[in-house]
């Protein structure tokens, strides 16, 4: 088994627009929870990870600290999860059930660099 990180990226405005009514949001919520539960039950979740605030600071140096990422940024990372999968292909396959895809967001699947390589 290898480790992968899912980065959940979406544009804030598009994310909100895709949400629609409270009922649709609840349905989306239930899909998220079902998806995560299923991953967990199949033993693919190494660390559920965390949701992230959409704004913080972008630090480029002592004198170059700015607010960011900006709310209008195309893809803000909204959270991450540490996954276990056989290979990259399987990690990608498992990510296809993520409800963020229905709201115009993306899942970035990145292999964790193996030690000693």
């Amino acid at each position: 088994m290898s480790a992968f990180v899912y980065l959940y990226r979406s544009e804030d405005a598009a994310f909100r627009a895709a949400m629609g009514s409270p009922e649709q949001m609840q349905k989306s919520m239930q899909k998220w929870m079902a998806w995560m539960k299923e991953l967990g039950e199949k033993g693919h979740i190494k660390d559920q990870g965390h949701p992230l605030e959409r704004a913080g600071k972008v630090v480029k140096g002592k004198k170059a600290i700015t607010d960011g990422p900006y709310a209008e940024s195309k893809d803000v990372i909204g959270g991450y999860t540490l996954i276990e999968a056989k290979d990259l292909a399987q990690a990608v396959e498992l990510s296809l059930g993520c409800p963020i895809l229905e709201g115009g967001g993306v899942v970035e699947v990145r292999p964790v660099l193996k030690t000693g390589m």
Binding site: G20, S21, P22, E23, Q30, W32, W35, G49, P51, G78
Partner: protein
């Protein structure tokens, strides 16, 4: 922890009602925004952390927090009295206060400057948390039309200076009939409405009952309030029987009455008894009484049709309409035979106003079929079919057309 079905929708209504009371009605849009934000936040956090112990409190706290942020960050802060932020911080949502907030919003939505259709759409949108698409779906209207209607209604509401003051007994009593009427229309949209989805319609009935129930224990509720509740419960009890095992519409006369909900019938009967105090006899009293006669007949042949005809006579004196007259004629036909029924239909004043109503033609078809005039019946059913509003009605009417070709005439009336 599992999410309660429709939790977000219900909470949306409660939260917007409470926050609008705090912000003032002119800031309805702000209340709606921060509620939306709270749901977005839940969507980002709950999948990782699980549903909180008390999701309602979590959502309200998040919306409140968000509102404080907005007030602090934006220059609008100056426009708000400083005590607003304090009252937001101190706001504790108690059950009774939340109910009052919903009542206040319900009465506000029934603003006299709004047409009844707009009042109902607004209630469904603000108090029941239905999105514009969902309201459009429920009323089988276009999204653009509903959006315009709701936007215009919100403008009237936001421009009304303050939310309706429910503590003023005089104002409360004066607006109560409009509130009854809007709830009645909401319920009817679910019960008789055009939406093809039984689930959508059942939800409308459920929402109307939930909102009406806010009134039942109110000290200023009137016998008409209880009668309205009775009619909702007694009709809702029949909902499971309106669809047969195959999910098709089933006429009242042919429904499997064992599928009617006995608890709802009992609740309706209790409210009907409670409504029988005082001299007031509203249309809701009469409609509930008609529903109660049906509910008390274990089989269709046990129905006391004479009593139903006489109740329709009363209803005609309170709120005459061609549809009421048509239902009366159908009851007469059950009681005295199809010829008498057809004569009664022929005598309806403003009969031409029924021409666009599919169940007018269907009723004519049933009565012709019952007196053996299958060709005439088929013609009426064909006219009804052309007016059918959804696939369920179409299927029902197609079955009736088939019955016209067969030898055995069945005795269905409008469902």
């Amino acid at each position: 922890m599992e999410l309660h079905e429709h939790l977000f929708r219900r909470e949306a209504g409660r939260m917007v009602a409470t926050l609008t009371r705090i912000f003032g009605v002119e800031n309805l849009a702000l209340a709606e925004d921060v509620v939306q934000d709270a749901f977005c936040r839940a969507l980002e956090v709950w999948p990782f952390r699980g549903v909180p112990e008390n999701p309602s409190a979590w959502l309200m706290a998040t919306a409140r927090h968000r509102a404080l942020d907005v007030l602090r960050r934006e220059h609008t802060a100056r426009r708000f009295a400083p005590e607003l932020a304090r009252s937001l911080e101190a706001e504790v949502t108690l059950g009774a206060a939340v109910e009052d907030d919903q009542l206040r919003m319900m009465f506000s939505c029934c603003h006299p400057r709004l047409p009844e259709t707009a009042q109902v759409a607004l209630m469904l949108h603000i108090l029941c948390g239905f999105g514009v698409d969902e309201v459009a779906g429920a009323f089988v209207s276009t999204r653009a039309g509903v959006e315009k209607r709701i936007a215009r209604a919100k403008k009237v509401l936001a421009g009304s200076e303050r939310l309706f003051e429910i503590a003023d007994a005089g104002d409360f009593t004066a607006r109560l009939p409009a509130v009854h009427r809007a709830l009645y229309l909401l319920f009817n949209e679910g019960y008789h409405g055009a939406s093809a989805e039984a689930a959508v319609r059942a939800e409308l009935c459920e929402e109307a009952i939930r909102l009406a129930a806010l009134l039942f224990e109110h000290p200023l509720a009137t016998p008409a309030t209880y009668a309205l509740g009775a009619l909702m419960y007694l009709h809702a009890a029949r909902l499971p029987g309106r669809l047969d095992a195959a999910g098709n519409l089933s006429a009242l006369a042919e429904q499997d009455r064992s599928r009617w909900n006995p608890e709802l019938i009992a609740a309706g009967q209790r409210l009907l008894e409670r409504s029988a105090s005082g001299p007031e006899l509203s249309e809701y009293h009469v409609e509930a009484a008609i529903a109660a006669v049906h509910a008390s007949a274990p089989r269709v042949e046990d129905t006391n049709w004479a009593q139903i005809v006489s109740l329709y006579d009363t209803l005609m004196t309170i709120r005459a309409s061609p549809v009421v007259a048509l239902n009366r004629a159908i009851a007469v036909a059950q009681h005295e035979g199809p010829e008498r029924g057809l004569a009664e239909i022929g005598a309806i004043a403003d009969r031409e106003r029924l021409a666009g109503y599919p169940f007018y033609h269907a009723a004519l078809g049933e009565l012709e079929l019952r007196r053996g005039k299958n060709d005439a019946a088929a013609k009426h059913f064909r006219a009804a079919l052309a007016l059918a509003r959804n696939s369920m009605e179409r299927h029902f009417l197609e079955q009736r057309m088939v019955a016209c070709q067969g030898a055995v005439a069945s005795r269905g009336a409008a469902p």
